[in-house]
């Protein structure tokens, strides 16, 4: 602070505060871009774009390690200051940019003359600003693989290519019954599940010294009420169910957005912690941003909701129990393999208890189908062969 500033603060604190606020306000207003990390001499060919705010990091986390591994020259493009700060901090060696509006996008990207493709982990409205660049290839990556209606709708047709794990996602589009003939589907597997696949080859009962490690992954209430499939309201019943079991461990991770729409769910983590303590169940409730793959690898029974995590749990090569709410019409973008074919579905705690007993007693009757689903839904072979990285490199060599 200058001497004059100090004098103002001491003699006229009100004026000092007002000026300070105004100064910050104007600073905030002008912050519409940050391109300090872009080295304009780097021949960037790929852009990984996220139009999200606080959820950007979880989407980027899914893909960035493989962009790095592929050694293509890529830039992470954020549209939100918080996302920019978080990603920059977590990946200090990666070029990250913040460009708020369409004008900033146009002026900056026009300088990156080697650009070939732009990748989108989610469908946000501001993707439109990049989609206006007709000379680039636009590729949708997604951030998981789900049967929810959000995973196959008409808006996807704006992209040139949809990189999917395997045939299940293509069938979801087919089964929606609309024409998507202009959208090329490219099967790339699920690179983030490679480690889980490689570590889950043993029979599930024989892992962890025969201990049963339950993993409960709840979804959230959904942007739209039609997609509210959360079982979080009955989470305490799950805990009660495990109360008298021996040699078990329960891990819980809630979806990061639980409580966004139903505020009564905001304190769910602490409530579940206390409840398991009261019932003497060995339970850990994880932070909401804890990567799911780190937990899947430690588990051999999964309880989850209709969401992308079901397919991630598939990589864990162990029984999956999926909650199907009874009180509402389930709108799914259905693939050709229904949940009932490879997961133990339940709509009440009694049904869960009944099916769980059968499986734990040694009758894992869906094991064969689960293996089929690993190929059909996850693209096990493409994942093990690192097809995603091959495709990234191929784009670098393409003439666009």
């Amino acid at each position: 602070m200058t001497f004059m500033g100090l004098k103002k603060m001491l003699l006229h604190p009100k004026i000092f505060l007002r000026d300070y606020r105004n100064k910050n306000k104007s600073k905030k207003k002008t912050q519409s871009s940050n391109i300090s990390q872009i080295n304009f001499l780097t021949p960037f060919t790929h852009i990984l774009h996220t139009g999200e705010g606080q959820h950007a990091i979880s989407h980027i986390d899914l893909w960035i390690p493989y962009f790095i591994e592929s050694k293509v020259d890529f830039l992470v493009l954020t549209r939100n200051m918080m996302a920019f700060n978080t990603i920059s901090k977590k990946y200090p060696l990666v070029s990250v940019a913040f460009l708020k509006g369409e004008k900033e996008i146009e002026s900056t990207l026009s300088k990156l003359i080697f650009l070939k493709a732009c990748f989108y982990p989610s469908n946000t409205g501001n993707n439109l600003h990049l989609l206006k660049l007709n000379d680039l290839k636009h590729v949708f990556l997604g951030h998981g693989d789900s049967d929810k209606t959000a995973s196959a709708h008409k808006y996807f047709r704006v992209y040139d290519e949809n990189w999917v794990a395997s045939d299940a996602h293509i069938d979801r589009f087919r089964n929606e019954g609309f024409d998507f003939s202009g959208l090329k589907s490219v099967k790339v597997g699920r690179p983030n599940l490679l480690q889980i696949l490689e570590n889950s080859t043993d029979k599930w009962r024989e892992r962890f010294d025969a201990q049963i490690n339950f993993l409960y992954l709840s979804t959230w209430e959904g942007v739209y009420s039609e997609q509210n499939y959360t079982s979080v309201y009955m989470a305490t019943d799950f805990i009660k169910l495990l109360k008298d079991m021996e040699n078990i461990k329960l891990r819980i991770k809630l979806h990061p957005r639980v409580g966004s729409r139903d505020l009564s769910l905001l304190n769910t983590s602490s409530r579940l912690k206390s409840f398991s303590e009261e019932n003497s169940v060995d339970c850990t409730v994880y932070e909401r941003d804890k990567p799911v793959d780190e937990l899947i690898i430690k588990s051999n029974i999964f309880i989850c909701d209709i969401s992308a995590v079901v397919s991630e749990c598939l990589a864990g090569n162990a029984p999956i129990f999926v909650y199907i709410p009874k009180d509402k019409e389930i709108k799914l973008s259905q693939s050709n393999m229904k949940f009932e074919e490879y997961t133990y579905t339940f709509s009440s705690i009694d049904e869960l208890s009944e099916k769980l007993t059968v499986v734990l007693d040694g009758n894992d009757y869906l094991q064969g189908n689960r293996e089929k689903a690993m190929e059909y839904i996850l693209g096990k072979d493409a994942t093990l062969n690192q097809k995603f990285i091959d495709e990234l490199i191929a784009i670098e060599k393409e003439e666009i």
Partner: protein
């Protein structure tokens, strides 16, 4: 609690809407809806209108109180709008805005982009238009623009619908009769002064004509009025653009400067005479109407040469072709905008 983010109180439950007109451009919504509403009313199909900002909503309710005008701000509100209209089959989009994504996720609806008055001149066609099922275009020229701009148009259908808003003009001007009226259009840039000097001489040659002069630059109004009195000319100066169409329908020809070469002028089915200042290279100009369909002159002698042969109208055939290509005249007159 009543949400401030949604208003669906104007849903007409006794006449459930089959189609919905949507505009999300805060600044242009009122203009876009006003441009289209007559076409929707004439269709006799029950329709609603969805706006995405409160000011446009209020203004439209004031302008069109009889119609089912709705407002939804957030994605969740849009969901409620769709849920509340079970009979809805199609949505018509007037602008290609980021917010359209809130509706485009509904697979059971047909999504149709119809654009606005100036969509034909869209230079920034991009891949995002592929989200729609259909793009209603006025003519073949638009289809070519799309294909050139984005290459793979995939599933997109491009029904040629013409320009419904020009239907009445097309009908009225199908068989033109000589009226000894002429329309002059001059703009407010510095071209005007040289244009007016030449036009002054031209006007003197048209004493038997009733002349309508659209003048954006009021600076010259006084001079022209005086000129008109001194030379006993019948010159009517007007500034209201709305009147342009009214005078054009009855005119034998239109004289324009380069800033006024608009595609809509073709709808009047009369010769268009373009004044090109001598110092300008006509080949460098990007005009909305191809030069092959325009008579051009740079001085009053050239004008007179053209004027004397205007009855033969040697460019009529070419103009008709261009009118069809750019405005879809035949489709406008023969095709129904809505397929019921």
């Amino acid at each position: 609690m009543i949400s401030k983010n949604i208003n669906i109180s104007r849903i007409d439950k006794s006449n459930p809407a089959k189609i919905m007109l949507h505009s999300a451009d805060e600044k242009l919504t009122v203009g876009h809806i006003s441009y289209w509403i007559e076409v929707f009313i004439e269709s006799n199909i029950h329709f609603s209108i969805l706006t995405r900002d409160i000011r446009s909503y209020q203004k439209l309710v004031e302008l069109f109180p009889k119609y089912s005008i709705l407002y939804a701000k957030m994605p969740i509100d849009v969901e409620s709008v769709i849920t509340a209209q079970e009979s809805l089959e199609s949505i018509f989009y007037t602008s290609n805005m980021a917010k359209n994504i809130h509706l485009l996720r509904f697979n059971h609806l047909t999504h149709i982009f119809i654009g606005s008055e100036n969509s034909d001149q869209l230079s920034k066609i991009n891949k995002s238009y592929r989200a729609y099922d259909e793009i209603y275009v006025s003519s073949q020229s638009q289809i070519e623009k799309f294909k050139t701009s984005i290459g793979n148009t995939g599933h997109l259908k491009f029904p040629i619908k013409g320009k419904s808003q020009l239907k009445s003009i097309f009908s009225k001007t199908l068989n033109k009769e000589i009226s000894t009226r002429a329309l002059f259009l001059a703009n407010k840039t510095n071209v005007s002064s040289s244009f007016l000097l030449v036009i002054g001489k031209v006007l003197l040659e048209l004493k038997e004509y009733a002349l309508y002069l659209y003048l954006e630059n009021t600076l010259y109004t006084k001079n022209i009025t005086q000129f008109s009195i001194d030379n006993l000319l019948d010159i009517n100066i007007f500034k209201d653009k709305e009147l342009l169409s009214h005078f054009a329908i009855d005119s034998d020809f239109i004289v324009v400067d380069t800033d006024h070469v608009k595609v809509s002028l073709l709808s009047y089915n009369i010769p268009i005479l373009l004044y090109v200042p001598k110092e300008k290279d006509i080949e460098d100009m990007e005009l909305d109407i191809p030069l092959t369909a325009l008579y051009t002159f740079s001085n009053h002698q050239e004008f007179l040469t053209i004027f004397k042969t205007l009855k033969e109208d040697r460019l009529k055939e070419e103009r008709d072709k261009v009118t069809e290509y750019l405005l879809g005249k035949r489709e406008t007159l023969e095709t129904a905008f809505f397929e019921v």
